[in-house]
């Protein structure tokens, strides 16, 4: 064997942030692909039937707009957690992470409120099944984001306060979810 000289300890290369970015790309492609199919089906339905939204179905716009605004709150809290962690401010980090999770749960609540108000069944034609599929996929991504936040929170509660990279990755994920929801908001709730 040819002995190669041992190198210095590898420099930290932000593995969590890279992983979060990769996951964000995958999330964007998932929802982007679904919105692409949505747009094609919508165009076909309008060409064939004149409308895409089933008659009698109204989309409640207030909660969908509130969800978008809530993402500003989520991102602010995520940044707050990151900023506090950098300064070894454990109480603020924990509070900010808890607030992130709380507002994210409120977003989910608003989504379920929309389901409740729309009076649309999942079996009500193409629109029904596609609407529930795409918003359901978004809910699943939100749950994953909340789980990530809770994991970060419990690690901080457990005393692992030197993991500021984890919180950068956490912010990246919430940015990605914000982008994903913005696209859904525009295509599904605004363009209809």
């Amino acid at each position: 064997m040819e002995a190669l000289p041992a190198g210095p300890a590898p420099a930290p290369r932000n593995q969590m942030v890279a992983g979060a970015t990769v996951a964000s790309v995958a999330m964007a492609m998932l929802v982007g692909g679904m919105l692409g199919v949505w747009a094609l089906e919508r165009r076909e339905a309008i060409d064939a039937e004149g409308s895409w939204l089933p008659s009698g179905v109204t989309i409640p716009e207030v909660p969908s707009n509130v969800m978008l605004i809530a993402f500003l709150g989520i991102l602010s809290f995520a940044h707050w957690a990151q900023w506090s962690a950098k300064r070894d401010d454990r109480p603020h980090t924990i509070f900010a992470l808890g607030s992130t999770a709380f507002v994210a749960v409120l977003v989910l609540n608003a989504q379920f409120y929309i389901y409740n108000q729309m009076d649309l069944g999942v079996a009500d034609g193409r629109y029904g099944s596609m609407f529930y599929a795409i918003t359901g996929a978004f809910c699943a991504l939100m749950v994953a984001g909340i789980v990530f936040t809770l994991v970060a929170l419990f690690r901080y509660l457990g005393g692992r306060t030197n993991e500021s990279e984890l919180l950068v990755a956490h912010t990246v994920i919430w940015y990605a979810l914000g982008v994903v929801y913005s696209a859904i908001w525009f295509v599904v709730y605004v363009t209809k």
Binding site: E2, A3, A6, R13, Q15, V22, V31, M34, L40, S129
Partner: protein, 550 residues
């Protein structure tokens, strides 16, 4: 850490059952990516055998084109199972397994990034694989019966998630765990191809997952309108050309990796090879834009360009074709040119053909023929769309990929199992696999030109001979896989205590600087990298030192 680790060896008792259970636990809970990779490769080969059985069934049914025993529903199921098995049961897990096993070693990482995610990815893929085949057997799959179709979509989604987990691990490994001094330009070709492959999968598989979610919700809810109106077409791109070029990318990277070892020289113009591998990755665009089969009318003359409207129409036809077919073909062509350039005889040059090279070379050529076939498929004037030609191009790519993957297993066997598979033993298998691939594919290229449609039935009895040869080809491929697995198992089981040399192939990259087999954490000390061929540099430096000493 507050957890208590106990190694399986310590936990194992003396009885055979206890040792067997301890070994199982070791494999099931391992965070060693070499084990995860081997699990993917092993089960991928099982998936391939299952698919070859389906291929044989289809071929048997095609022996007599006038007497078709299966009804229309059954043959739709069989063909969808064939494509599903070729891509998701064989091509993707085998490529992923090779990437997981070799990439951390190649980039000098002591561990893959997110090893538990990679391991979980295997179990998600494997669970989905088992459930999907159960669903297909129970009349699930595209066009099947109610409940089993739901199971198929859910299982398929699980497989996609598992493969995504593996891809995320590979990409993050190349980005973040490279040895000190290893810039992206110094990354070995195979690791680079696995990196592009991983990025490509991260771009295309989520799009497929989205389509599967639509189909599952629609079918499960009982609406069925999407299913009936053909939204399943939005998933078809994942099972054919040109997306399959992306799946074969690691094999093309493997050939580029083996060229400097085989011809005992440094690869010139490394940037060009990186560019070629990236161009093949452009095939990911076809998937991420859900590109299904498109048509390129040629209007009788290759030089035909009429007025300005015609020019616009012609460009509209040709640009997607060039983007999705020509660019990947150009990328593969660059690797082919590099192969020829490296093989050019030079005075005093030695050739070091190792067991992996025939597999990788044959696999690459088969993939290339499949890519070329897929590139001419969209030309309407050739009347190949809807014929068996399309199926043949896919079989070329997937069987070529399998041949190449066998080359990868042979190449890294010293690091994975601590054994060397001899050139004389494996070359006949490579030739058998080459023969099987050609026989299973090329006759359908001919039959496609003769107009044999993609289903079972055909009226022209002259086509029968081609279908008989295809049946023989699939049987030969099954024999190749079985013989290869048997040979590997026999060699691994029969290995003696004599240690294998760390660098049995006189290779250039850093995985050959660690012991054979490689330890669980790959390297005792992570080496310092100063060039793209660090081991070759060290050997040359040693030779100079020895020369000056003598």
């Amino acid at each position: 850490m507050t957890t208590i680790d106990s190694s399986p060896e310590q936990a194992a008792g003396s009885s055979t059952i206890e040792r067997f259970l301890a070994a199982d636990v070791d494999w099931l809970t391992s965070t060693d990516s070499k084990k995860t990779g081997r699990l993917f490769i092993g089960t991928g080969l099982i998936g391939l055998l299952a698919t070859v059985v389906i291929n044989v069934l289809i071929s048997v049914e095609r022996l007599d084109g006038a007497d078709v025993a299966l009804d229309a529903d059954s043959w739709v199921q069989l063909f969808s199972a064939q494509r599903f098995g070729l891509i998701f049961g064989a091509a993707l897990p085998i490529g992923m397994g090779l990437a997981l096993a070799a990439v951390p070693l190649q980039v000098g990482a002591r561990s893959i990034a997110f090893p538990r995610l990679a391991q979980m990815g295997f179990f998600m893929w494997f669970g989905g694989f088992a459930l999907a085949y159960a669903a297909i057997i129970g009349n699930g799959g595209f066009g099947g019966d109610a409940d089993m179709v739901d199971l198929f979509f859910a299982a398929h989604g699980l497989m996609v998630l598992g493969l995504l987990a593996g891809a995320a691990s590979v990409v993050t490994t190349v980005l973040t765990t490279r040895a000190p001094g290893m810039t992206m330009r110094r990354v070995p070709f195979f690791a680079f191809s696995a990196f592009i492959y991983g990025i490509g999968l991260l771009l295309v598989l989520p799009v497929l997952l989205g389509s599967l979610v639509y189909l599952f919700v629609d079918h499960r809810s009982g609406s069925g309108l999407l299913f009936e109106s053909g939204v399943s077409e939005y998933a078809q791109w994942a099972f054919g050309q040109p997306t399959s070029f992306l799946y074969a990318l690691p094999i093309i990277g493997l050939l580029a990796e083996l060229l400097p070892v085989t011809f005992a020289k440094r690869t010139p113009f490394r940037g060009l090879v990186f560019g070629g591998l990236t161009l093949i990755g452009v095939a990911a665009l076809a998937g991420s834009t859900q590109q299904t089969v498109f048509q390129v009318p040629w209007e009788g003359s290759q030089l035909y360009i009429g007025d300005s409207d015609d020019v616009t129409t012609k460009l509209g036809d040709l640009v997607p074709w060039a983007l999705f077919h020509l660019l990947p073909l150009l990328g593969a062509g660059i690797v082919l040119l590099m192969t020829l350039f490296m093989a050019k005889p030079e005075k005093g040059a030695k050739i070091n053909i190792i067991g992996a090279f025939p597999f990788a070379l044959f696999g690459f050529f088969m993939v290339l023929v499949g890519m070329a076939g897929a590139a001419i498929l969209p030309f309407v004037d050739l009347e190949l769309l809807g014929t068996v030609f399309d199926e043949a191009a896919l079989v070329y790519v997937v069987y070529g990929l399998v041949l190449g993957a066998m080359g990868g297993v042979v190449y890294w066997a010293p690091k994975l199992w601590g054994v060397v598979l001899d050139l004389k033993v494996v070359t006949p298998l490579a030739l058998l696999g080459l023969l099987g691939t050609i026989a299973a594919s090329f006759p359908h290229y001919i039959a496609g030109f003769l107009g044999q449609e993609a289903g079972f039935a055909y009226s022209d009895s002259d086509l029968q001979i081609w279908n008989i040869i295809v049946l023989v080809g699939h049987a030969l491929m099954a024999a190749t896989v079985l013989a290869f697995v048997g040979l590997l198992a026999k060699t691994v089981a029969g290995r003696d205590d004599e240690p294998v040399a760390d660098d049995p192939f006189d290779a250039h990259t850093i995985e050959w600087a660690t012991t054979s087999p490689a330890p669980a954490d790959n390297f005792v000390d992570v080496p310092m990298i100063t060039s793209a061929e660090p081991l070759l540099d060290a050997k040359e430096a040693n030779r100079v030192t020895e020369g000056s000493d003598s």
